[in-house]
Symmetry: C2
Subunit: 417 residues, 2 copies
Amino acid sequence: MTTVHTHDDLIARATDADAASALQGTRDLFSLPEGVIYLDGNSLGALPSAVPAVVDDVMHRQWGERLIRSWNEADWWGAQTRVGDRVGRLVGAAPGQVVVTDSTSVNLFKAVIGAGRLRPGRTVVLTDPDSFPTDLYMTESAAALAGLEVRRVHPRDAVAAIAEVGDALVLASYSSVDYRTGELWDLREITDAAHAVGGLACWDLCHSAGVIEVDLDAGGADLAVGCGYKYLNGGPGAPAFLYVATRHQDDFDQPLTGWQGHAHPFEMRPDYEPAPGITRARVGTPPLLSVLALEAALTAYDGLSPADVRAASVSVTGTFIEALDALGVDLPLATPRDPERRGSQVSLRHPQAFAVVQALIARGVIGDFREPDIIRLGFAPLYVTHVDAVRAAVHVAEVIEGREFERPEFAERGAVT
Amino acid sequence: MTTVHTHDDLIARATDADAASALQGTRDLFSLPEGVIYLDGNSLGALPSAVPAVVDDVMHRQWGERLIRSWNEADWWGAQTRVGDRVGRLVGAAPGQVVVTDSTSVNLFKAVIGAGRLRPGRTVVLTDPDSFPTDLYMTESAAALAGLEVRRVHPRDAVAAIAEVGDALVLASYSSVDYRTGELWDLREITDAAHAVGGLACWDLCHSAGVIEVDLDAGGADLAVGCGYKYLNGGPGAPAFLYVATRHQDDFDQPLTGWQGHAHPFEMRPDYEPAPGITRARVGTPPLLSVLALEAALTAYDGLSPADVRAASVSVTGTFIEALDALGVDLPLATPRDPERRGSQVSLRHPQAFAVVQALIARGVIGDFREPDIIRLGFAPLYVTHVDAVRAAVHVAEVIEGREFERPEFAERGAVT
């Protein structure tokens, strides 16, 4: 690797990398404010330009003019599985296995209890102590209801722990990317280990879908959950998704038995009979403005392969790390330098991380802070370019070198950070 | 009551009633297609004119320009309880007891399991065999997980059944309006009976909120659920709501322990600690396009008292029934004639109800069919006038007298009816 020393060199190399990227031009599919480098797409994805026209049509024509008739005419009824199949293409799932519904939290609840019922008599669920907390909370709650025991085991120790648990294992439930550090885990190993003892694996793809090459089918995942509003850009609080591998669907007995998961919903039968296939993972009537916004958002991925997206992600995050090095920023990286072990974010540690993030935001570089000391910068490769990555690194260098984070206005914390 | 015999007389009386109504002019707050009399607001409410501008602002400015900052700046974080309080005003709930979240189905799941935990050691849940099916399915599923037994008892027999169950009663869970027949039940009696044996009552307000004078607080309700997309006009699949009376909130231990219900969500603590108040009934990140569309929709109720809305509803449904009588339509009413026992819909029985509904839709009178023989016509008093009611009755009379429903094109059933 050539060592680069100047800002101009960095920008020139980044410009070349952008021109050579398979994602060249995808940034034009997004509406981003002037002067902003948006590195928080791992928390809330940017607005895809295709969304407003679709939502306008949903409001004015489908809802306002066609009213209840749109359930058939606009196939609102099929939206959750139709959009699910579209998500499936990004995460290596063949059609008929993904449904867009509820929140990630609620879907994880279905997955844990559903897993317990797929493996009756077994008692142990393994999950990552460093999971996004909702995963821990929901897993514990579901396990308590289902009479299961949760053991918190770090992913690096999961394979050994699974062997130890043996035929008591119900489920190994892991995120493929750590939401704080951005470390990428090979869930295939954990899945293979779980299968070797007759257990199941659930993959949390919140920080993977849309940026990592996820191979749910090829990797043998049994269940998976993920988020619609991060790298999938579905808008604030966009519905989440749930994957149930075809081989488990006939026996997937999930506890949120709402009418839209029924085999014959309009016969209004007194007793629940789950629909065939992934439809049984639906619950109540879904928030269609948000479901259909997500559908429109996903068109930004049309024509892109997950491999191309992943390559761009690795290249952009690598460019950022390289630029930090070249600029002499010596903050500890929480994220692995090895691209094989790195998600689509770069997290830096700093004792005043909160104030550093505020100082960056004031410069138009929007990232976020995570307890206790993490500056978390997400690189959504569809709209964050190599040049953006270099510019962001320059801002980080200036904030740190100039001790800009010590200004009093950056110390105050809002409710949501 | 003067008997009216002619179409002109009926229209003249209806015109006078519209002019005298406290809701005079509210129809102008909705965007409805030309030539349609929309009697399906009990399934999907019409588009309030205030909604599109708000959703446009949410998309373009809050999401597109301000991005993640809108969680604070636009108070996305507080939206679910802020909109909940607005719903609360329509259902007799003082602030701090209603949250807009998830679907009705999911909220009922929380309510049933939460009720079981509020009344440990008790085992019986009573619910209506004629409930909307999702209520039955979710109640059964929740009860199975919580070790409870569900008994299906019609509301007319509920008070006696509660006395019989005695101190085994966890919860009496009832809808205030039957979704098929439109019959209105006095849930205060059932609630008093449940309290007399130390149990709880949950009210399902899907077909009541926004049309009936519901007094959750005054009536002593412990829990309630309801729908955002029917008479509240929040749009297709708008989020639902959950009410937990203040006196139960500290002990309300609901099973869907998502991070947005945590006391310190941004500290990312490893263990769940429920937030104070109704916030603990939140779960995952909510679909904000839909939540904020509902908030805008509810402005149509500004300045209207629930009593005025209820009076208009009774008057409009009464006008419709009276017009059917005057026009000689002799279909059996599934809905009580007594306005004290009538919700905001009129359901007629006909052996070819499906085809009758299709024939009415072809004339621009949009209602819906419910198994097995119900022509279900909802009257949303904010946008269905007395004159609409008379015109709808004339259409019904013509479809029945002319046997228009026998035309072959009205026999074919779509997926969603």
